[in-house]
Amino acid sequence: MILFDQVSKRYPQGHEALRRVSFHIERGDMVFLTGHSGAGKSTLLKLMMLMERPSQGQITVGGQNLNRIPSRQIPYFRRHVGVVFQNHQLLFDRSVFDNVALPLEIAGVAPREIGRRVRAALDKVGLLRKEKMTPIQLSGGEQQRVGIARAVVNKPPLLLADEPTGNLDPELSSDIMRLFEQFNQVGVTVMIASHDLALIANLRHRVLRLHEGAMYEGSMYEGQLGSKPPVTSLKQPTNRGRSE
């Protein structure tokens, strides 16, 4: 589903955010991406959403080489990737329902169909009764769940999340993670960037670690950073996540 091959990203100011990163994520996997802030997690997610382009290397998502997608095709690509943001990126001037409906409206789904699918998504995140409220009336955890509903309403095969539990207390955080696991169980490939190591340790999924722009493979049980050599080639199979 996701293939990074020797990907580097250097920003115009000279900062090298990613250095020759290679990894492969199978369809249906659930993977965590960890690392200190500034380690390159956000950059990696931005590359997958085509918010940024790599300086070097190839990225393949869903069989499509992202380098070959021209700018004007980017919107159509993004409709097939659900993204959950740390700051939710909700619109406060409209209702929960309208926030979740936005991707469907953009994709040109018929109005009747929109109602059905938005309610299905809200039901899944447990906010069906709050569809008429505005996001400002909701708690932080509820806002994040609206963000998740919006990310999955289009039924994307790939779900990306950038620090989805960043501002939540531990109990709410594990609720959110369980939600992601549920989507993963129906076949959605999930990739979550998070620095909440304790939370990740409880969930036995594959973990990718970024340190100063380089990628290390390993779960939390293997101790500190650098316990394994950096993954710079695709030769070693790294499918440690749940298999289908």
């Binding site: 589903m1 919107p75 991707p103 109005p111 076949g187």
Partner: protein
């Protein structure tokens, strides 16, 4: 399977087809084309309504923008209406152009009438009248204070005059010049006087004013573009966050532009209506004095206002300007907003 307008989805090109999503998407595929057109139209309707809603949320700004556009458009519109009135008036004057033939003194009244009969058959002549010297003298005595002086004259110094009215088709300077030439060659004629010069001067003035009106229209049209462009730019700044989110979840530039273009259209429509109102009220206000003026000239002239057709034209032009102004602003400011 599930791809929108040329979108090659993540789901495509994958090795193993996801059974669950295949089942899910089977229903969605049904009659998708009609659905797509339907939802496209309903989206347009929704955006149009929402943009009106937004205008109503800030009524003061909306009314002020309409007023600015309306005032800017009312000047060229008013000019155009007045010019079309001039044209109508000018047509009357043109047909009232006359040629006076002052006959030689020795020509008798009978000869003058015979000449008139001959001239009446001329293809460029619509009507002929004879003013005898006695009649002319009587008119002169009546119209001027010279009555007493004229009484001292031994004989009538005035000649008989034949007055020609040219046909409307030949009432232009070129035909009149050739007509004049042929009339001057007649033996009976002493002098030919053409009452065309002032009409020509009038038309020259009208064409000067016409060019002025065009220049005004261009300048004020440009002003409308700038006003709407600037208003749109502010609206874009206010909705920056929303634009970013829409682009993040796959909104195309066209999708993001649409509400702003509709807003421009409504600004144009409102401005056009204000302009039509201003012009109509002004013309109504002017019509009283103009009626008095026309009556004093014994003219049946009435000031004509905006016709239905020209009102439609005004509204179309103003809506087009609104749309164009918004489009220019959107093109410049909106496509540059990208999520970071």
């Amino acid at each position: 399977m599930k791809d929108y307008k040329g979108g090659r989805g993540v789901g495509r090109g994958a090795s193993a087809p996801d059974e669950a999503s295949a089942v899910r998407e089977h229903g969605a595929q049904k009659s998708r084309q009609t659905n797509e057109v339907q939802s496209y139209l309903s989206h347009h309707r929704k955006v149009a309504q929402e943009s009106i809603q937004r205008l109503r949320q800030s009524p003061l700004i909306t009314l002020m923008t309409w007023a600015v556009i309306g005032i800017a458009l009312s000047l060229p519109t008013g000019f155009t209406v007045i010019l079309s009135n001039f044209d109508q008036l000018g047509a009357n004057w043109e047909s009232s152009a006359q040629v006076s033939l002052f006959l030689k003194h020795e020509i008798s009244e009978a000869d003058a009438r015979a000449l008139a009969q001959t001239l009446k058959r001329h293809p460029m002549v619509a009507d002929v009248a004879v003013i005898t010297r006695e009649q002319a003298l009587a008119d002169l005595k009546k119209q001027s204070d010279l009555g007493d002086v004229l009484g001292y004259l031994d004989s009538n110094p005035l000649p008989h005059v034949v007055v020609l009215t040219p046909t409307p088709a030949s009432a232009n300077s070129r035909s009149m010049a050739s007509l004049r030439q042929s009339l001057e060659n007649l033996n009976e004629v002493d002098r030919v006087q053409l009452d065309m010069l002032w009409v020509e001067r009038l038309f020259a003035m009208i064409s000067v004013i016409e060019r002025g009106a065009w220049t005004l229209s261009l300048l004020f049209g440009l002003a409308v573009l700038l006003v709407i462009g600037n208003t749109t730019r502010l609206a874009i700044e206010n909705r920056r966050e929303e634009i970013v989110v829409v682009k993040l979840v796959g909104g195309t530039n066209a999708f993001v532009r649409r509400p702003f273009l509709y807003t421009g259209l409504w600004y144009g429509l409102g401005g056009g209506l204000v302009a039509a109102l201003l012009v109509t009220v002004t013309l109504f206000w002017l019509s009283g004095p103009i009626d008095v003026l026309a009556q004093s000239y014994e003219s049946g002239f009435r000031l004509s206002g905006l016709t239905f057709g020209s009102t439609l034209l005004l509204l179309s032009v103003s809506m087009l300007l609104g749309w164009l102004g918004a489009w220019l602003a959107v093109r410049r400011h909106l496509d540059a907003i990208e999520p970071t």
